[in-house]
Amino acid sequence: MGRACLVDTTICTGCRACQVACKAWNDLPAEKTKFRSKGDGYENPPALSGRSYTRITFHEILDDGGNLDRSVFVKRQCMHCEEPACVSACPVAALQKVKGESGSAGAVVYDVEKCLGCRYCMLACPFNVPTFEWDKTVPKIQKCTFCADRLEAAEPANPQVNDQPLAGESLERFEDTQRMPACAKACPTGAIEFGEREDLIAEARRRIEEKKKQRGSWQYVDHIYGEKEVGGTSWLYLANVPFDKLGFRMDLGERPYPEYTKLALDAVPPAVIGLGAALGAIHWISNRRAAAEEADGPETPTGREGEQAEAASEPEKPTSGEGQRAV
């Protein structure tokens, strides 16, 4: 089914080690930011950008009396949809969902060698994730890669301990700790869990149910964001405040985005044939009629009053000199 990450926002402390690890692994330059005291609190950078694939958003949840009830931190990045809008949008297949047995199965990856820079993916994405290098002469689309390169191969390639190469079980154990996105690897609290998508959904459900048994404790919202949204995503979220208070759109529906265009595009081949048949038939009828009129002369009697009137009001209508006519 593919790899996924489960973000448990009740565990996240907002330390932003994931942001730092992401920049380090993906070699992204720093961004000049400024203190933002209004609205979204202390979060920085203010938005995903060509230099930031991920960021933590800060949410101050107030109680009924208007006092701070709790702070919730949400890691945002590409959701790596199961059926991505961006992949269906791209006219040159520069965006692809990795499928099959590959280590990075589940990731939505981008290939600049194919990209046109048309930016349709940016508008198609229901989560507004893809960004653009506006300051570059030949810009790329930028977005979280799910560290597909890490998932494909553990780094370093030939690990050694005390000058001895790792092998067998120890090598496998080492690789398991490395083959995950840099952010998940860096997270000190375990708020980002990496694994197979179906396992993580089961784990998320288990956590929700577990909490329900602890009476008097806070409870998870009984919803795994990303399980069904837009057909499912590879990043899944748990929260203990309603998701719409955390900047998640709840109105996106469960329909996979590619289906929105599928009907229109599937109609193209039959439409071409159908139009061809219809236009051919119309051309046939109208031209035979015109030819018959020309053969009979414009004074054809019965049943053609309308056309006769038209012909009369149109002295330019050629009855002679037909042979000279070109387009």
Binding site: A47, A85, S88, A89, P91, V92, A93, V112, K114, C115, G117, C118, R119, Y120, M122, L123, A124, N128, F132, E133, W134, D135, K136, T137, V138, P139, I141, R249, L252, Y257, T261, K262, L263, A264, L265, V268, P269, A271, V272, I273, L275, G276, A277, L279, G280, H283, W284, S286, N287, A290, E310, E314, P315, E316, K317, P318, Q324, R325, A326, V327
Partner: protein
């Protein structure tokens, strides 16, 4: 129909002004390539598409619709009396698509990859369909315009070859299109067979019209239909951003219907301006006929669009919602008013009335495309997009380039029908105008 060149110098004060504007735009484009999109435009991650996409690309395609509506009307539906508009409309369409291609090359982040849709075949992408429609329709338009060039050069041998080959080329282009859109050999070969048979049947059973391979025209109408509607399909992926007054699963049909309307409008608009600029007679009867077609097209578009909204339960949005004023402005001034105007015989008989109605339709459709691309979109975050001065300059210079090329083309090539020595004129007014042309031409 015999065509003639417009007499006049290739450069006049008016065209010199156009050239100046084009030169300024060219400098801005050079600056854009040197410094990147961010330095020249006000585009951002929040508003990735702006003026260039809305006007240069989406409106450019819509305004090029005149070539397929007129070619279809004359050659497919047998509207012979509108023949006078064919060549100017095809020229406008050809230049319009050129405008789109240049505009696209300026807007793309990786312009050197502009040809990639030829080798990458993601048939699930509406933008991929758009790209193929641009390429194929541009080919058809070029083929449609070849006779004017060959006629000018006097190469009759090539003209014969062109007549023989174009039906087969058209069938092949259609098969290629269906092939890449379905990724199925069955569909591709089936399409090739179907259109080859159709071409054969038309040439055998339908009385020959000299110089008009029916299949080329049919292919042009099909590619245009597909292209206009696919531009609507592009927005199908934005149900979460585009206001429901515009977003509907029927967007492709809305875009097609509005393109048909603006196709008639642009012909009226262009013919009226050409008559003034080149001091040519105005084909008043035929223009009134186009006005009548435009009225039908507008009423159908309006009924479909409002009917679709009623079915989806969005009519109430007309009276609330932040985007309702944009919608009302677009629909009332761009559709309802010109439709009502053109339903009156008095307006149809008046050159100024026709021109005003056609201009409203043109502006209305451009406004519709601008709404879809940016004004009716709700983007995340604060801030709005207002095009930069350089964006406006580039768009203005592209339009100027097209106007200049049109004026140049009609002087170099036989585009307009011959206005003298061709039997009686449709009306005394036109005859006077014609003789005036004659005096000016002989001066």
């Amino acid at each position: 129909m015999i065509h003639e060149q417009v007499k006049g110098k290739p450069v006049t004060p008016a065209t010199a002004a156009l050239i100046l504007l084009v030169a300024a735009g060219a400098i801005a484009v050079a600056y854009r390539y040197a410094m990147g999109l961010g330095a020249v435009t006000n585009l951002s991650d929040q508003y990735p598409w702006g003026l260039w996409v809305a006007v240069d690309v989406f409106s450019g395609v819509a305004l090029a619709a005149g070539s397929f509506t007129v070619a279809g009307l004359v050659y497919v539906f047998g509207g012979e009396r509108y023949h006078v508009f064919v060549r100017p409309a095809v020229l406008t369409g050809l230049l319009g698509y050129l405008f789109v291609a240049v505009g696209l090359a300026v807007d793309l982040g990786q312009p050197l990859h502009i040809w990639h849709p030829i080798i990458m075949w993601p048939e699930h992408s509406a933008m991929f369909e758009v790209a193929w429609c641009v390429m194929l329709y541009l080919s058809v338009l070029a083929l449609e315009f070849v006779p004017a060039v060959l006629e000018r050069l006097g190469w009759s041998g090539l003209q014969e070859l062109w007549k023989k080959l174009t039906p087969l080329v058209s069938a092949a282009l259609l098969a290629l299109f269906v092939g890449v859109m379905s990724l199925s050999w069955t569909w591709a070969i089936g399409t090739l067979v179907f259109f080859t048979v159709l071409a054969g049947m038309l040439s055998r059973f339908v009385p020959a019209r000299p110089g008009v391979p029916a299949l080329l025209i049919i292919a042009g109408v099909i590619f245009s239909t597909m292209h206009q509607s696919s531009l609507g399909s592009v927005f199908l992926l934005m149900p979460d951003k585009l206001d429901p007054l515009w977003w509907t699963p029927s967007l492709p049909i809305n875009f097609f219907l509005s393109a048909v309307a603006v196709g008639f409008a642009i012909v009226i608009f262009e013919a009226t301006l050409s008559a003034k600029a080149f001091k040519r007679p105005l084909e008043k009867e035929a223009l009134a006929g186009m006005g009548r077609f435009l009225a039908y097209a507008l009423w159908i578009y309006l009924a479909f669009r409002l009917g679709d909204m009623a079915v989806r339960g969005h009519l109430a949005g007309l009276f609330g919602g932040g985007k309702a004023p944009l919608f009302l402005l677009e629909i009332i001034l761009g559709v309802l008013v010109p439709a009502a105007m053109l339903t009156s015989a008095r307006v149809l008989g008046s050159t100024a009335g026709l021109f005003l109605a056609a201009t409203l339709v043109v502006l209305g459709v451009v406004f519709n495309r601008i709404n879809a691309v940016w004004l009716a979109m709700t983007m995340p975050g604060e801030g709005a997009y207002v095009p930069s001065a350089l964006e406006v300059l580039v768009t203005a210079s592209l339009i100027a380039a097209m106007v200049y090329l049109f004026a140049l083309a009609v002087k170099l090539l036989p585009v307009f029908p011959r206005s003298e020595g061709e039997g009686p004129q449709p009306s005394p007014a036109a005859a006077t105008a014609s003789s005036r042309t004659h005096t000016i031409a002989s001066r």
